[in-house]
Amino acid sequence: MSFSKIIGCKYGCFLGIMLHFSNYLFGQELHSSCSLKLQIAVVDPQGKPLAYVNVGVLGQSLGGSTNEEGILMFKNLCKDSYSFQFSRIGWEAYEFTFLLTKDTSIQIVLRESGIMLDKITVLGDGDKLGKNTIKEVLDLESLRSTMGFGLAESLKQLPGVQTLNTGASISKPIIQGLHSNRVLILQNGVRQEGQQWGSEHAPEIDPFLSTKIQVIKGAGSIRYGGDALGGIILVEPPALRREKGLDGEVHLQGMSNGKLGILSGQLNGNHSFGNLPVSGRIQGTLKNGGNLHTPDYFMNNTGVREENFSWMLGTEKNNLNSTFFYSRYFSILGILKDAHIGNLTDLTNAIERGRPLSDGEFSREIGRPQQQILHEFFQWKNIIDLQNDGHLEINLSRQFNRRKEFDAHRNFGTLPSSLENPNILFEITTYRGEVDLEHNWNTNFHGHVGLALMQQVNTTDRGSLIPDYSQWTGGVYYTLKYKKPASLWEFEGGIRYDMNKLRIDDLNPKLQDFRENQFQGFSGTLSSVFHFSNAGFLVFQTGSSWRTPHVSELFSEGVHHGSASYEKGNPYLVPERAFNNSIHFEWKEGKFKIQSTAYYNWINKYIFLSPQKEAVLTIRGAFPAFNYSQTNVSIAGLDGNMTYSLNNHWDLTFQAAMVKGRNVTGNDFLIYMPTNKVQFFTTYYLNAKENATHSFIRTQLTHVAKQGRVPADFDYALPPDGYFRLDIEFLTHIKNKFFPDIELGIALNNATNTRYREYLNRFRYFIQEPGRNLVVRLRIPFGQS
């Protein structure tokens, strides 16, 4: 009693969808009306199971996604007609309706879609990034609830990520104790190239353009670069629409603290011109916030403005698909005035005060000091489908980044022109070209070979912190993955060679001898996955990566006003090399779900600021001096989370992270390592949580310990005390005639208005963390989806 059916390819539909379904009796007894079981198995055309396929049931509170075996079970279904929707990024979406009369097992064949908009979708079979890569994916619900706070704050939801903050508005992700140049951020598969070296330089990406953010921990994927000592963050926009028509969504958010408002929207369309299908999207975000409030006072000049815009256009013909992606990020960030200090005396005064001079007041005005950042990104991506042999991807991109920093004091000079001039102005233009060939040797071996080239010009038009420079890099890599269906083990290995040519364009005679610099080296990874049972697996990973010293580490010289220190580069620095080792564990059995990563990373010649005995005397007074130096360090850590589902309504989650960084040569701790952190989440679902449109109330209790592992005589003030913080979130879905599914989220952050300071906030000397914040957000999708 089985039949199969081939759905004909419609006009505008790129690939045929084959659907088999066979009726299969789980049991012999007759079922009452609502106790039927349905097993859905999703496979690719080769019959390999397809995991993470989202399955939704139209008009019903049902849904879920397929497991590693490509299977999703529905229980307690009624004798009724169901319409299922199958979707997965990079795969043809599919919809079908059938009448369920008895326990049934069906198999769905999805085909890879032509328009694949992100690198991830072409990395291999089934599970694209593979289990060999230790990663954490931010689920869409968490992403949506936090994206109003910026990229780094969204990522903070993951157990392996913490943030390095400068005040309340600048936040950078830390992965495995490392940040800035040791963490790569990829937007739609292209490395973000800005001024990421600075600890007060936040990533220039609008989280609203993305529906998927994942973090690769450690040196897991050399495909993206051999210099990700800490990890890689992949920010991926959703795939373009493939069916004719229009759809879109609008996000509206309001926050009580800072009276911040966000309006974001996107419109997706698909239309065929003759035989040529064209898909497109336009997206934009506006953000406006004023002075933030701590439990005791306002933080003066902490407003924010953002104006972001992006578009994407793609088409497909025969075996080629081609996509253009443009994004423009622009933000103005006010910097807390009380934290802008001219010299050590000011710093001492400010630390002694420990709070702003006055209680301040609310204002939307953003005065000095401030930052203005523009990041423009343009990409042309082509993917050629080599059928069963794999894919060839060619990726060209251009990025431009302009960073203006305005000190509290304008430069002395003729008014009014000197009022408009920033004290620091960096401009960086980057061209990248990448070719990646995915090759399937046979069903068990999948390889990638690739080439990446980059040319970059960086000018410092104002301020002389770093010299002008040009840079050329080239990298080649090869990765090979072995995965035999039904085998308990999987293996993956990769090797990469990178070359970096750095030319200093500054004519300063002091830099005469260091004008031409060249670095080269190999990186590699080896990993294996062991499926110890159907419910769980272990990943063993080891790798080595290296990073060339950044121009700021080689040549910067001057007073860093934010930290009242005199920082001096060292042109004799050599590349640092990391050896990363991790074990990752995932297990899901019944009501338990656990994932955890333990790592031990060793970095040879780690570049850091080493304090000097002699202060530097300047006209602004004496500054403590720091020289860029190298040492050997070890960073070990453990992070993970565990969820216990009490029943259909209650979920309990425990999440924890700890990192220990040692300066091995100096026999001391490393500065600015994340503090031990534990979090406890309680979620109560008002309706069944499997329901795609579920409602819940979640409380999140966070405890951050006092950092005890700090280097001796290195900091201006002792680490702040540990703290507890309570956050409450409510989420529900509203349906009406015009809008089928409005998502409403209400959150109360720092619900108890706790006064606390965060060790990893560079402004902790001057100010508390923000107080209570009520967030109301709406997501309104519209159009045919």
Binding site: F273, G274, N275, L276, V278, L313, T315, K317, S322, F324, Y326, H340, I341, G342, N343, T345, D346, N349, L357, S358, L374, E376, F378, W380, L396, R398, F400, R402, A408, H409, N411, F412, G413, L415, S418, N423, E427, I428, T429, V457, T459, T460, D461, R462, G463, S464, D468, E557, G558, V559, Y566, K568, V616, L617, T618, I619, R620, G621, F623
Partner: protein
């Protein structure tokens, strides 16, 4: 027809690649110099006799060559009027920043902290809001001895605060050794 459309698409796409990324790097902009204060000069004028000037100079800015600091030498039991100026001597001709401080006098304050035998400085000038400014003052020496005067230029201080000199952002902070004969 299909191919034509396809190549048209590529043509426009290529145009987009060139034209939409319109932000340009302003390479070669010579404006890489910011104005700085290299010199603090204090002139002491006694009621009778010639005035004397003493300088604290760091022409190459922070780091590099160490600053040149002149010692202030004053006579005992003498009243002086003092006038402080701030210069940028890295430029030619030398730029006088004092005029700009006067222009924005409400946002500036010159503070004097003394130690040892150096006598306290009385500020005699005012900003546009009738608050102390500190570019001019008086000093009255008593006995002979050694000490120091620390001169600070504060930007946006809170002049109403109980200790205005511990507020604001410090633009200048230099210490002169003082000898009173």
């Amino acid at each position: 027809m299909k191919n034509q459309l396809f190549s048209t698409f590529f043509f426009f796409a290529f145009l987009a690649f060139i034209s939409f990324s319109c932000e340009k790097d302003t390479t070669g902009d010579p404006d890489n110099e910011s104005e700085l204060i290299t010199t603090v000069s204090i002139t002491f004028t006694p009621a009778s006799g010639a005035s004397k000037s003493f300088k604290w100079t760091d022409k190459d800015g922070a780091g590099g060559i160490a600053p040149v600091i002149e010692s202030i030498v004053l006579a005992a039991n003498t009243s002086y009027t003092i006038s402080t100026s701030f210069l940028d001597e890295s430029k030619s001709p030398v730029e006088n920043i004092t005029a700009e401080i006067l222009e924005e006098s409400n946002d500036h304050l010159v503070c004097y902290a003394v130690s040892g035998s150096a006598p306290a400085v009385q500020i005699t000038d005012q900003d546009k809001k009738k608050n102390p400014l500190g570019l001019a003052g008086t000093i009255k020496t008593t006995t002979a001895g050694n000490g120091s005067i620390k001169v600070s230029l504060k930007h946006t201080p809170d002049k109403k605060a109980s200790t205005p000199c511990s507020t604001g952002e410090t633009d200048v902070e230099v210490t002169f050794p003082v000898t009173i004969n």
